[in-house]
Symmetry: C3
């Protein structure tokens, strides 16, 4: 056995308010996929595409929707949204070693910083003047918390996170390694023959329950702050420029980017490597598909895309060459139509 915690079907049903089917004493001590889960593991079926695997699954417990429970022979939990229920139950089986309270001997902490006694400051961290680390917050190795920055209660900076200056993280914010928050916005004025830098005098405010991916960068504002409202979820290598405002519950996939002063709504889904130009607005509940570029404001919820489909290179070359003449083709088409109409 794995040494993991163990739960019975009855316990899980009770704890998560789900309906149980089958042997109430069925025990699980871990999770797996529908195809690979063993008789002591729990899994789920949320996508009807995989329904055919349900009958064959060896899993001890399967979380299913009401429509699928009849197809499950063994123990099952019925959930309105099996994926959500799975996410919550699976968290029981995640071991995160408790971070030791207090400040590691190798950390460098300014005398004026305010560190909660229940916070954990890891090896080689640097906490600068006036920074505040609230209750239960955890800084993994190699974090730098710049002057006056605030890490809210129960937030966790996994490792090597840098908060530069005027950055405030809310509660339960999770930041992955390599993220840089509060770096200078890219503000330049062109003075005849060279660049003059604009001082970046604003900060960054990150709401409660946000997640910031590995090597993601969030610049601080030029005058006002860059803002992420609560529960914004950023994947890895995302770039958020100065004075961007992202509404609550918006999720952005890896390598997407938002240029300066853009305002993204709530509950948006931004696909991988999508880009949003500066100084525009995106309404609530907008989905942008992967690699699309938003060049003007989007006022209506919905799904938006740009780009061209993938083709075998030889065919693509022929078609791409034609794209350079589309305007001409459209004119020629119209001329033919007019000509035809004159017959």
């Amino acid at each position: 056995m794995s040494g993991n915690p163990q739960y019975t079907l009855a316990e899980l049903a009770e704890r998560f308010g789900l309906e149980a089917h089958g042997d109430a004493g069925t025990i699980v001590d871990g999770v797996g996929t529908l195809a690979s889960a063993t008789s002591t593991q729990l899994t789920f079926l949320s996508n009807s595409k995989y329904a055919s695997q349900l009958a064959d699954s060896q899993a001890g417990i399967v979380i299913v929707g009401a429509a699928d429970v009849a197809s499950r022979k063994g123990a099952a939990l019925v959930a309105a949204d099996p994926y959500v229920a799975y996410a919550k139950i699976a968290a029981l089986f995640e071991h995160v070693a408790a971070a030791p309270r207090g400040i590691h001997a190798s950390a460098v902490v300014a005398a004026s910083a305010r560190i909660s006694p229940t916070a954990s400051i890891g090896p080689c961290c640097v906490v600068e003047d006036g920074a505040v680390i609230e209750d239960g917050a955890v800084l993994g190795p190699h974090c730098t918390i710049g002057p006056g920055c605030v890490v809210g209660a129960h937030s966790r900076l996994v490792a090597r996170v840098t908060l530069v200056i005027r950055v405030t993280l809310g509660q339960r914010v999770l930041v992955h390694p390599g993220a840089v928050i509060g770096s200078d916005g890219f503000g330049l004025a062109f003075d005849r023959d060279h660049w003059v830098k604009l001082p970046q005098l604003g900060g960054v405010r990150i709401g409660d329950d946000c997640e910031i991916g590995a090597n993601t960068t969030i610049d601080r504002g030029a005058l006002d702050d860059t803002v992420l409202e609560e529960d914004v979820r950023l994947d890895n290598q995302i770039q958020i420029a100065h004075n961007v405002h992202i509404g609550a519950h918006t999720a952005m996939a890896g390598c997407s980017a938002v240029a300066g002063s853009a305002k993204i709504g709530r509950y948006c889904l931004i696909g991988g490597n999508a880009g949003i130009l500066g100084h525009l607005e995106v309404a609530d509940r907008v989905t942008i598909t992967a690699k699309s570029l938003v060049t003007s404001s989007i006022r209506e919820p919905g799904e938006y895309s740009s780009g061209t489909p993938l083709q075998e290179n030889r065919q693509w070359r022929r078609n791409a060459a034609r794209m350079k003449h589309l305007d001409e083709y459209a004119r020629r088409l119209a001329a033919l139509e007019k000509d035809r109409g004159n017959d």
Copy 2:
């Protein structure tokens, strides 16, 4: 009051060589936007789009162009380029805590490194054999300066910057957290069934007054050096491959990338997530719009683009499917025209 430094209209006019209008004793102690600046703050109007806000602005001082000064009731400074003037004046209100001279106790500095007595080496920095840190240079926390690398006078590495090897930074270079300069170029030779790595024997030379964004990467050359001339401005998460040469005063927006041995001219503007393929040349004063891909040399100044416009996904799908047949459509169009001509 804010405890900031205070300046009168007369002082600013004198110091920056600008023409003053209104009460010479008007005092400002900070900056703000045209809409939000208070009676003790300075702001600017450079874009005629916002001219309507000028009459209502509560700002203590507004920097305007000559054409707009008549519309301003309160104190004003007249500048040929209000944005440039604002950039310079705003810098007065930026507090950058003076970095303490000397080497922090937690830093690890090789005996053979040469550190100016006026330089500042921050907590947990590592300075390796033969590295040189010149007068007034500042290394924030967690920087690594590899063997023989040089940080020029008054350059500032904000935090967690890594110079790997054979990297020379000029004077007043500003590097943001997470940047990696001098990592191996991506050079591989394919030997029948596996890759053989090419040693990367060159270095990186960064000119005076350059700025390098957060998590930007600049590889060192294979034989010769990767070069940024003076006053090159790189935003966050930019990738510069080995042996790239970027001309003076060129600015690149976030997530753009240049492949190996490309040569970019002076005074170019490269948009966000734009890409430039390897072994090609881009002339001076070329602008590339966001997300465009440069696949061959550009010999003339001007603005260049690729990509398709964003559409509602359902419409986009219909159009994108047609792009796969453009060549055929063009042929059919020509056939119709020919046919018509034969009537």
Copy 3:
């Protein structure tokens, strides 16, 4: 002279199994380009595009293919693949300072970590509980090796590399600064009005002889592992999502990205900033050109592309506007053809 090691033509021919032409005693102590190499440097000619430079090259030794040797007056080595032979010989001239065995005084190493006596743990490294560092492995400054992670024999983490948790590196793996391996996959379930995080319970397995570029991120799997087979070569700023599987000998250029659970074949070449969506398969020996987006599985080897060609912006605008109406144009074209057929 450079103080570099010196080799005669005869020594190199013998050591690398190449045919020598010219004075067997010709000595080289370095490498250069065909155009710049001096009489004590070695270079190569692999691309017939540069054949005209061969006669003028001042290089002490040139590696050439059999077809070009007659055009070379001085000393030459004949190789089946001159570029591969050059890669191997050039490695003789790379100085990598030997890393000192043992643990730097500033490193923080858990008592339960297992460090080979022949490994080198650099300044400010953090090695956590149960981590294993095998023979001859080198950790440069500022690396963090998370709980239970394994760094295989003779692997080298140049500097500031973070292995988060459940990460295993094979032998001779080379990881560049800023890389993050084993961070949380981006797994979220939407629970009516907010996100619920899915615990990421898998790990990352990196095969022998892989190379991971600067600031590249590789997330750990949700249940199973994220896998790179042997000799996979990743450039800088690449994003590999959870549960991705990359076949042996595949090389990916800078800023490319692979979304969750995609399976990439062996010997693939992925161009710069190309993207591959999740849950799809790419066959062996597929080439994807720069900035292309793969949105469905690719079953056949070959070269694939998407995107549009670069144009002068004014022309591009006209054509791009037409792309929004392609479906309509295609219908109108068909209508004209039909109409014509009815004549």
